[in-house]
Symmetry: C2
Subunit: 339 residues, 2 copies
Amino acid sequence: PDQQMGQAAQQRQQQLTKPTGALGDLEALAIRLAALQAKELPQINQPWLTLFAGDHGVVAEGVSAYPQAVTVQMLRNFLNGGAAISVLAKAQNIPLEVVDLGTVDLHLSLPNVQHLRLGPGTANFVHQPAMSVEQCQAALQAGQAAVQRAKANRADLFLAGEMGIGNTTAATALACALTGLAPAQLAGPGTGLDHSGVQQKQAVINRALQYHQDQLEAPLQALQCLGGFELAALAGAYIACAQMGIPALVDGFICTAAALCAVRLNPECQPWLLFAHAGAEQGHVLLLEQLQAKPLLHLGLRLGEGSGAALAVPIIQLACQLHTGMATFAEAAVADRPL
Amino acid sequence: PDQQMGQAAQQRQQQLTKPTGALGDLEALAIRLAALQAKELPQINQPWLTLFAGDHGVVAEGVSAYPQAVTVQMLRNFLNGGAAISVLAKAQNIPLEVVDLGTVDLHLSLPNVQHLRLGPGTANFVHQPAMSVEQCQAALQAGQAAVQRAKANRADLFLAGEMGIGNTTAATALACALTGLAPAQLAGPGTGLDHSGVQQKQAVINRALQYHQDQLEAPLQALQCLGGFELAALAGAYIACAQMGIPALVDGFICTAAALCAVRLNPECQPWLLFAHAGAEQGHVLLLEQLQAKPLLHLGLRLGEGSGAALAVPIIQLACQLHTGMATFAEAAVADRPL
């Protein structure tokens, strides 16, 4: 980030025809984007969204309200335009690409989907590491490759989404390992578990944390043992965004857990992460606090897919347009001094 | 509102390819709009914004951080495109009309501004009613007339904004009279008063409440004694929106005080009011609670002009597009039953 340009943007905000601070969080947002883009007048013209999908072996423990087949069914729905993220991307003209990192159906071949087939989903991490070292590396690199494609397409904001039945369980387990918070604090209903389902999910995560307890010190190992293909890809993407100078817009609980992992792997990526929303999943707010993040929206979302990130795009674009388009007190001949 | 259509929309929400409730507040929003528009698939294609401006005699008591001349200076800024609301309206192609109800400069004549010249600002309500009965009626009718113009232009969402140095003081006084809350609870810094300025503002409002104490039982009299031209116009507009069947999107503290007055004048207008945001002005959240309102955005805004309402428009439009454009479980062949 270019701190000097951030300061120039801050000075500009104080000269715009409004009481100082009257645009609230949008002022800090424009100033941050000015520093990230190294432009006094930042703009977001080309958002890009990559949706990472993968299956999870831990689903065998009964941790999801929906059957595992829904991961692949939703891949088709993304392509056919019927999913929430498809509608949001189309409405805003945001390119949406889908990367299938590995689902239970290894022969799956869908048009316009990149099938990486890292495995038939992850392994059940109650009994063994979710990923091999090689799988985890390949997933991290898949995230990096997505940001490279975004960059090649002149993207100026990288949105990531995720799909994977069971992935709130993996995200919670990973976040517990990274933060020391207990599963009882972070585990929520996901796609719709009832109270006893949430308790079962917590018990499964506790067993996994116990099983891998000697392997969780380093964030990379925690990711490999407890994460998922899409979680690793997300973490790889967020780090790549910082390295390639593209601000990343983080979606919900899963993406925030991956962002926390990315920051632990490489703290320098933190300034490049913008947080789209605080969702309904109870662990989300706690993880946002760990990251000292101030999310833009509070709409009670708990869908994933990148939907919350896509909903925040207009707010970010309007914050830039206000910063750029408003007149200064001098330009407008408006009295700028309090009495 | 058409409750049957609301129920049809609710059933549709439960069939869309997402866990029930996963779109959070956007689901209730789409369902409400379906009932208001009497369409299972609501849409917002033609938002409209009327900005009501007026001056306030109570400014003589030193209740604003900015000089009174700023009201007229900002009118020019709205026209020249340099104000926040100008940028937000232009960026979204929202027609923006400006109605000058009465400023200190009664000879003011600006292109594309409707000058109603109800008076050289209101009277100082510490010593006399802010408006005569006739002025208050004319301002209410000006609000109604704006909604008629919106309707004639096929508007499907009415946004109102306001400008008037001193109008947080008038809005606070009016809100105190309507709710019984104390000035110490509702008065905030407005455009930027410091602590002693806020105390002075509270004292002024207390004196006004004392002076008019026998006239505040009926909301219309409270409006006439303590309100302002733009506050009355806003209240008139909100009532007219309900009568003409156009959902109204309420902006910040001033607009919310006017909305509360509108609901007290005619409780049937309440279902037609959507609340855009919870702002930074301390009284705003309390008034939203009085109205049992659940605002869409929480961005710490305190600018007025309709800016918060304009920022919420994309979220409302996207909520409609999600409701309309998403596939059902049956259409997408996605498993819709929890295990």
